[in-house]
Every structure is written in C-alpha cells, then in structure tokens.
C-alpha cells in the first residue's frame, strides 16, 4: 500500500474507517384472498385451514392444492393443538431480532392438518424441546386479536404424551 500523506489540516484527527450503507426495500404486501381468510380467522381467535378435493388440509391455505393444482373447497376450523415436527434453536443474535436468545422456532403440525405452521415454542427450556412434543397455542388477550400470526403469542407444551412423527418435518409438502 502506498504511503498516504495528508494535508496539514487533517493531521492528528481521527480517520474515518467505515461507513454505514444500509440497503432498504419498501414493499406493500398483498395477502391474497386465501391468506386474507386465514388472517381474518386469527382476528377471531380461529386457526382456519382449507381442505382440497384430495382430502389434504392446508394451513395457511394459499387457495389451491399445490399437488393437484385445484382450488381448496372447504374451510376447516382447526384445533389449537398439534405436534412439533421440526424445530430450530436460535443461539445467534442478529439485527432486528427482537427475541432473547436462545429461543426455539418450530414447525407445528396442527391436529387434522397436513401442513405445519412455523411459530415460536416457549414455556419450555430449549434443551427439552424435541420432535413429537405436543403443543398448544397461547393467544394474545382477546382485545389484542388482529389479522396477524402475532395473535398467537407462541406454542407451549400441553402435557400430552409425545405424538408419533415418522420423519422430521412430516407433513411438509415439498
């Protein structure tokens, strides 16, 4: 590297070594009709799935069966309990996190559904979280319900014996 010579006016001042260059993208997200039905359900304290003609129940539904390519036809008011089919313990802090680490996010296959929902697993030490854990939704106060997945604060163990999970991520439709 070449020797740098500075004009007298800048000698002895602290030199700039880095600059912040944030990249920001501003979108308007449009949920679409099927996801709007799901989100409006959450605002009423319900977890609504949709059944496709082949029998599978998707939650949240995108309005069509991804395997058959046909519209879902029937709304299904799902129970608020399910089985943990996969999870991730987050040990690394990142920008915008808003959660105290370590914490667990998991894929929860609600009873009667064929597609797991991703949500937080709380009220359970991270070392005790395991595939097959039976969990239940913990909701915000009724006055705070809104058309957002944040109407469910998290899922917690409900004390039932473990469910049978034949393979991690079971129920995920690839």
């Amino acid at each position: 590297m070449a020797d740098i010579t500075l004009p007298a006016a800048l000698q002895g001042v602290e030199l700039v070594r880095s600059v912040r260059t944030p990249a920001r993208l501003e979108y308007t997200y449009t949920a679409g009709v099927a996801t709007t039905r799901f989100l409006n359900g959450l605002a009423e304290g319900k977890i609504l799935g949709e059944r496709a003609p082949g029998g599978k129940v998707y939650v949240p539904s995108r309005g069509a069966d991804p395997q058959l390519g046909v519209p879902t036809t029937e709304s299904v008011d799902l129970p608020h309990v399910g089985t943990l089919v996969s999870f991730c313990v987050v040990n690394v802090a990142f920008y915008g996190q808003g959660m105290e680490i370590p914490y667990t996010s998991g894929l929860i296959l609600l009873d009667g559904s064929d597609l797991p929902l991703m949500h937080l697993i709380q009220e359970c030490p991270v070392e005790d979280v395991h595939i097959g854990l039976r969990v239940e939704a913990v909701w915000v106060d009724e006055a705070d319900l809104g058309p957002t997945l944040e109407s469910i604060r998290y899922f917690r163990p409900n004390g039932e014996p473990d469910g049978v999970v034949t393979q991690p991520g079971a129920g995920v439709t690839w």
Partner: protein, 148 residues
C-alpha cells in the same frame, strides 16, 4: 388495511444494515468532509483527482499524495431535476452537476441547489453547503450553491 375487495395489505420493509470499510484514501476523503475540507489526490501525471482514487486510472500505480482542494468550484456540466424523487438529496428542484473544485482537474457528480433552472449556467461558480451534523459520510457535503 384492505383493498376494495377486502384483501389484506400491509407495509413490508426489508433492511440490511451493511457497513463497509473505506480503505485509507476514501477514509481520508470522508474524514475531510467531516472537517469541512475537500481532498483530491495527485496522479502520476500531476493531475488532481476528486474524489481521490487509490490507484492511477492510467497506469494502475498506487497513489497517496492527498491535497486540499476547493472550497469553491466551477460547474462543468449539469442537468436539471424538475421532480425530485424521495431518495434525492434535495426535495426541491435542483441540478445534478459535475462540480470541479478549485485546484482539481476533474469534476464529480454533485447536487446544486440554485433555486431555479434560470440560475444555472455551465462555468458558474459554486460553494459547498455542509450538513450541520457531520459523521464522515458523503452526506456531510449536503450540496453546492451559487457562489456570488
């Protein structure tokens, strides 16, 4: 919020908090801006380049002789912006101009707040307007204005 058919919509903002290291030459240039001093660098032929570059554009030779230029300069060429966009440095009509600070041999692209297109001419003299709070960034040099 919803649209006319009741479909939900919501703002979605994604932001990546990048920072990047400046290296010794751009770092010195930004330090100068913080101190309200404009820096150029001498290339192999003795020309003064603003903003300073780490390497000679003709030979690739490393450069290191930073020199103070300005503070005022001259507009080499310009284009008028009638309708500023949200991310433009000024929210009133302004000029993007190649401003060549006194003592420099090349101009660099800068906003000029002249108030009106009629106040802009090629060859006009301009002086820098510094930001009130400076942190060692290109935004420390807010814009240029006519130097009458």
């Amino acid at each position: 919020m919803t649209d006319d058919s009741g479909v939900l919509r919501a703002p979605l903002v994604i932001e990546y908090p990048f920072s990047r290291t400046t290296g010794p030459v751009i770092g010195a240039f930004l330090t100068g801006l913080r101190e309200q001093i404009l820096l150029g660098i001498k290339d192999g032929t003795g020309r003064v380049i603003v903003p300073p570059t780490e390497y000679d554009s003709g030979t690739g030779e490393e450069l290191g002789e930073l020199v103070q230029v300005g503070p005022s300069g001259v507009v080499d060429t310009w284009a008028w912006v009638r309708h500023p966009m949200p991310k433009h440095p000024l929210q009133v009509p302004f000029a993007w101009a190649l401003v060549r600070p006194d003592g420099a041999d090349v101009g660099f692209l800068q906003p000029v707040d002249a108030g009106s297109i009629d106040a802009m001419t090629t060859g006009m003299r301009v002086k820098p307007r510094w930001a009130a709070e400076r942190e060692g960034s290109i935004h420390d040099l807010e814009c240029w204005e006519p130097d009458r």
